[in-house]
């Protein structure tokens, strides 16, 4: 059992993600967030649990549902909100938005608009760790929808052949876009792990302590040079594929069951049993709300991105050759 101070910190990180995404949902409804928004509300235990096992120099590649990964890896709320609200002060200068939040300074290689698109990036990042002799691992977050992408199968094979320091983390929320997982994938990830002789472990993606413990068990062998690892976390999808998705393809009972799995409520109950009272959690919540509101206010006040600067930013500047 994790001691209260660590669980409290994990709770704080999960609550930060939950409240940030709830705020985004409202901003989206109010027209302050353009484009598409894919929320990970309900899934917070996975990014928080996994990133608790990571060092700053470790790298993660993420998915279209990537806000949690970004914040759990350490992205600042100011740059996060400003990006998703399309401002010049955004972490990607307003050029990427929700689906491309990235922060190279903390090893966050980007949310990704392409299902499975982050898998080869994480594989390459793990290769770089290996070639450079760095004591780091790369994590490839992917959803169950990506199991049917060829990229996963190519990367499992390559990572195993080269014994890369790579942890494949599947967030299995049971839905690939508008269709249930069982209609999209004929195999099991565990069986794929066995086929490639890659250690596989499953964790309850609603239990942040379970995820953190499993992540440590997968990250450490990868860090020691024992090759790639797989962690599959069952996690609920509370929201639609995107904000505004009426989810008519989902039975109300399926949605209710998902909403019954609440990582934050589970952690709060456990903390209460350990003697952390509601007032302490309330104080954490108030601090989070303050930070979020400050970030939103700063984003609202920030400038729109400059088109000329964007045009000039298509290519990185090359050294001059004769």
């Amino acid at each position: 059992m994790t001691q209260a101070p660590l669980l409290l910190e994990l709770y704080r990180r999960m609550a930060t993600i939950r409240r940030a995404e709830e705020r985004l949902s409202k901003l989206f409804a109010d027209g302050e967030v353009p484009g598409f928004l894919h929320l990970s509300i309900g899934q917070e235990a996975v990014p928080v649990g996994v990133c608790a096992a990571l060092e700053r120099g470790d790298t993660v590649a993420s998915t279209h549902r990537g806000h949690g990964h970004a914040l759990a890896k350490g992205m600042a709320l100011e740059g996060f909100f400003a990006e998703i609200m399309g401002r010049a002060s955004g972490v990607c200068a307003g050029r990427g938005g929700s689906i491309h939040v990235a922060d190279m300074s903390i090893g966050m290689l980007g949310a990704n608009g392409i299902v499975g698109g982050g898998l080869p990036l994480a594989t390459g990042s793990a290769l770089a760790h290996q070639v450079k002799g760095r004591p780091n691992v790369a994590v490839a977050f992917f959803g169950d929808g990506a199991m049917a992408e060829g990229a996963l199968h190519e990367c499992l094979n390559l990572a195993r052949l080269w014994q890369l320091p790579l942890v494949f983390v599947c967030e299995n929320n049971g839905w690939g876009e508008f269709s249930p997982h069982e209609r999209q994938f004929a195999a099991k990830l565990a069986a794929l792990g066995a086929a490639f002789a890659i250690p596989y472990e499953e964790a309850d993606g609603t239990d942040v302590e379970a995820v953190a413990a499993a992540a440590r068990r997968r990250v450490e062998p990868a860090r020691r040079g024992e090759g790639p690892q797989i962690l599959e976390c069952r996690t609920p999808r509370w929201r639609g594929h995107y904000e505004g998705d009426p989810q008519k393809y989902r039975e109300p009972s399926n949605l209710d069951a998902a909403r019954g799995q609440d990582a934050l409520a589970l952690a709060a109950a456990r903390l209460a049993a350990q003697g952390v009272d509601a007032e302490a959690l309330g104080a954490i919540e108030r601090a989070i709300t303050e930070r979020i509101e400050a970030a939103v206010a700063a984003a609202r006040a920030a400038a729109e991105p400059d088109f000329a600067a964007a045009v000039a930013g298509v290519y990185a500047e090359a050294r001059a050759h004769a």
């Binding site: 080869p120 990036l121 390459g124 070639v131 790369a138 990229a151 190519e154 050759h321």
Partner: protein, 326 residues
Amino acid sequence: MPETRYSAAINRALADAMAADESVVLFGEDVAAPGGPFAVTRGLLAKFGPLRVRDTPISEAAIAGAAAGAALSGLRPVVEIMFMDFMTFTMDALVNQAAKAHFMFGGQCSVPMVVRAPHGGGLNAGPQHSQCLEAWFAHVPGLKVVVPGNPADAYGLLRAAIDDPNPVVFVEHKGLYGSKGELPESPAPVAIGAARIARAGRDATVVTYGAAVAWSLRAADALAREGIETEVVDLRSVQPWDEATVLESVGRTRRLAIAHEAVSAFGVGAEIAACVSAKAFGRLAAPVARVGAAFMPVPFARSLERACLPGETEIAAAVRRLMAPA
């Protein structure tokens, strides 16, 4: 100046770049132990070891995607795609990931990677091993595309491509690997985006690149015997391309043909023709001509492939038409 084969010039550029920078790594199908399907990477495994020179499985999407990820994490990967036709499997990595990362992450990172791939026909390799697809990549903001036509440019452009902070598609030609040309003792990088006047002439300009440079030079020899002096501009890079050199040449000769092995429709020649028409319309004494492959998959049979691909004869004919009185 010693004569060097095109394939050896590429090999030397790889070796020199790897010796100069430990971040440069090489991987692809059969590039390490077998030394490359066209022997371009022979000897590099022995020189630089298995950490930096690796054979991959036949997984083009993972090869290109891992190159992008490695480039984001501090390496300068050079990867080989055995035939340019197989780049269809690399499209997500190149088009959605590598090309856009610098831009869409707000300039936080660059993606210094090179994808080497041979294009071109002439080997009766059939519809899936002969295509020239460089225009696809030139169409994507964030990618650079170079197509060297001789050993010195192959060396110099590859050094520049490896040095470049952006993803570069480095297009080789299977038919050129055995060709020879001069390579200085201490060859220098060649700036990406700079064309080269391969032959000076006053009557017409042929803008070309890759294997078609040699065809254009032979066409110019034939035309010279008829009293037509043709200027041949070797673009060397198609993205970015050297608009200034082309406009300057056309401004003098007032006649332009663009010759490449790729099909003409929606191709590199179309882009150049549109640009010249927009910026030098008043200087043109004849409509811009394009020479390219027939709009068809590259066929297998010798006679069919010969009829499909352009060459010296088609380029010379196009220039003669430019010279004919309206």
